[in-house]
Amino acid sequence: MKKLAEWIVRFRNVVLLATLVITLFFAWFIPRLKVNPDVISYLPKDDEVAMRFDSIGSSYQGNTIAVIGYQSDNIFTEKSLNEIKAITDTLRYFPGVSSVNSIINVIDIRQEDSVLQVVPLIDEFNIPTTTERLDSLKNYVLSKDIYKGMLISEDARSTIITVRIQPDLKIKPDTTISKDSILAFYQKQFPEPFYQLKYDSKTDTLDVLVNKTNIASALRNKLLSLNLQSNLYFGGLPYIISDIGSIISHDIIILGIIAFIIILVVLYVSFKSWRGVLMPVLAVGIAIVWVLGLMALLGFEITMITNATPVVLLATGSAYTIHVINRIMEVSFSENTDVKNVIIKALSYVALPVFFAAVTTMIGFVSFVFGSYLVMIAHFGIFTALGVLLSFIISITFVPAFLSYFPIKHKAAKVEKRKNSPLNVFLTKVFEFGVNYKKSMVVFWTIVILFMISGINYLERRVDLMDYFKENYPVKKTEYFLRQTFGGTSYLYINFKGDIQQLNTLQLMDTVQQFLKTIPSVTHTLSVVDIIKEMNHVMGEGKHLPNTQEKVYNLWFLLEGQEVMSQLVANGNTEGLVQATINTSDSKVMSEMVNRVENFMLQYQKSGLRFYQSGFPSIYKRLDESLISSQFYSLLMAIILVYFIVSFILRSLRNGLLAIVPIIATVAVLFGTMGWVHIPLDVATVLVASVSMGIGIDYAIHLINHVTYEMRSGLSYSESIRNAVTISGRAILINVLSVTLGFLVMLFSDLVPLQRFGFLIAVTMITSGLSTLTLLVALLSIKNHKSK
């Protein structure tokens, strides 16, 4: 270690220059980093649920549906209808849109003056102008169940326009042409920024990836620029996701800056030196730039999970530099030697424990790679672990090299002052308390842990996407408005495979539809059956399926080629879709719905017809399940793994056990608090456990290592613990305080999960710090007591 320290001081210029060059290099790539808010892409490509959803997308012109609400005093005026026509037209010709459904172009089946009409509801070339015609249109539309409450509100003041966004495409290009000219050709075909072309040389296919959320946002901007005089609402999953995304980026920037300032202030109060303040933040900042740059360079995207990487690094990585600086200051107080020697001495002590701390934290994160089903969790694990490694490297190279030029100045008076600083007095008190009341301390913590573990029973998995937003947030208001008026903006699908034109297939689809209607959260259902029934009615035989197969064939003839058919049947009538509109985003309700549908379908398994369920509820259920279960599994794995590593580092299985006690305490308090305070496990909160792991183990390693170090230099066990608590404890407390206060800023976020995330990180930091400084110290002194 000493050699390394000497090398770093000797080649400090190289170190500083190299850091600068590498940082600039990676920073240059960061703007290329793309955000991928498409939740479905987070599931592995070969996941059954994801594949089903994808296949629905490619069969039926897309599975991403944007819902646009249009509201005016009365839809049935010439002006409103013309505006809706303008919207329909604008959307129809918008790149990335595969189909549009509005009252202008929805297919209507009726008999008028003995003429059979299978035509758009409103003739776009002859929009009614007279009050008489407008009123009769209004009465007609409101008289039909398939429009009222589905396409148009009962008060005729609002209507919805649904937009299907193009699915990803796979193109088999002419392989005799070079890859570059293929790409150049298709670049012209798909010039818009929301297309991404990827050529796979192995299979000679060109993947056209479509950023559906960006298309939805572009649509919104385009429609708003039309300056219509009515109200427009933008709902459905693409808008919910894009809004979550933009709130996250907005909050991370604004709140991130405030958090940084708070961390800086706390550090200043602790170190009383601007360099002491800037270094930890700067070191983590550099590590974050490297990680993000590398992600961009390797073509990885920011997901809803990896966007937590910088935040998690700030919490875990800044500690390494704090320990290094703390040690350098400590050495320079006690020994009067030149700055280079101070650094060499400090570094030769601190590099190892910081390294151990970093390695165990990394293991914690890497374990997510093996335990995780979701690709994004694996990416989060890899890049956060990498960031931890980089934070460590920077803290023992760049930081000392920098400080060797610009040492942290201190005056003799300050040294005395520091010894009597409130922090030190507090730490001494903590130490004495921990030692004097060691047994009570252990009992106290045991009770706390047991109490918290009993709270885990109340831990809820229930997550409602709408709960992410505070009340009165526009997306939430829109969603509730659309649910109330039109029954919802997300869909459950049941796809049937077989000969869809067969009467018995249609009958089964009808049965399934009738069943779906009995589920409380299902508001409407739609399939080709509805259209066939409507036509049979017009042919004068009543609103039910025809009684002969031939009649079905005859009716089908009229339907073939209708735009709506491509959304209801696919692949040459071998696939048919039942679509159910749902009015919930509650994970528990959706989960139950998925199971109920699955159970119902079981009884028709023998019918010879194949069918499967898909849509938002099953995707959400899958994401939710795999996210949580993989987390629990990898957390357990990480704790076991870390235990063995720590035992190895500390050369004692018993010390290893001691070291993981603060982690267990922290994890118990974390999940217990979530249970007692009713914070559900979700995408954001589940990550806190990983942070608590990383931080908890660091504190313990520093403390135990410090004790062993002091003992080796000749101090008594008790004195060693005292020094460890007052010196390493100082760094721990500074870290706890700065990160806790920094993260509490998130309580002001617009997104509820971010608020919870901030609160839970604070709980975690405080518990890790306190359990290390009190419980671990008490356990150490009990051990001391026994060994005497």
């Binding site: 299978v118 003739d123 009649k551 009716l555 009229l558 080629g561 209708q562 040459g572």
Partner: protein, 243 residues
Amino acid sequence: MKALVVLFLVNLTALFAFGQNATEVLKKMDETIYAPKDQTISIKMTIYDKNGKSSVREANTLQKGYDKRIFRFTSPASQAGIGILSLPNDVMYLYMPAYEKERRIASSAKNQNFAGSDFSYDDMESKSYAEKYDAISLKNEGNDYILELKPKPTHQTDYTKLIITLGKDNYYPKKVQYFDKSNKQIKELNNQKIEKKGNYWVATLFEMKDLRKGTRTVMEFTSVKYDSGLSDDEFTVRKLVQK
């Protein structure tokens, strides 16, 4: 001197070409296409989906002039017997054998696809181009004319522009490109086999591609008979129901 003669000839040809204005070329094209007095045709229609999977439909048609036509499917079995009768003034009847009923069907369905093919009712309509479109420009390109058409204000269509490539020799269209409101080409018709049957030019094999959907439909005339003296009685609702 020789050069002068060549120059004179070139000028003459150019003059001749200019004399053929767009509207005239359009008129000649219509006259070529709708020259037969009546036609009896057997059609084989192959519809390809975007994955290249195909399905075949067959029908017999009778046509008199360009505004009377009867279209009857013979296969597949599920569609056999279904008939469509088109009469002047946009009057259309559909016969459904399973219901044993005929129904007049709305003409406003013209922009919709015909029987699952890539041809819309509008494309299938045997109405002259000049009735629906104005010729707005004409270009010479080797042995072809390139004619640009815009729909007449009275013609309700999804197309905003048609570009027709037709042979200078026979005035029969080789290719038709269809454009939408965003001026993007959405469909393309290719007359792959143009032959002279008796006195008339006819495309006996042609393909319509839908560029947005990636689907295409190939039509083949398996038998063609002209001027067999079909009477107006063939084009009545009674006849439609009879078969």
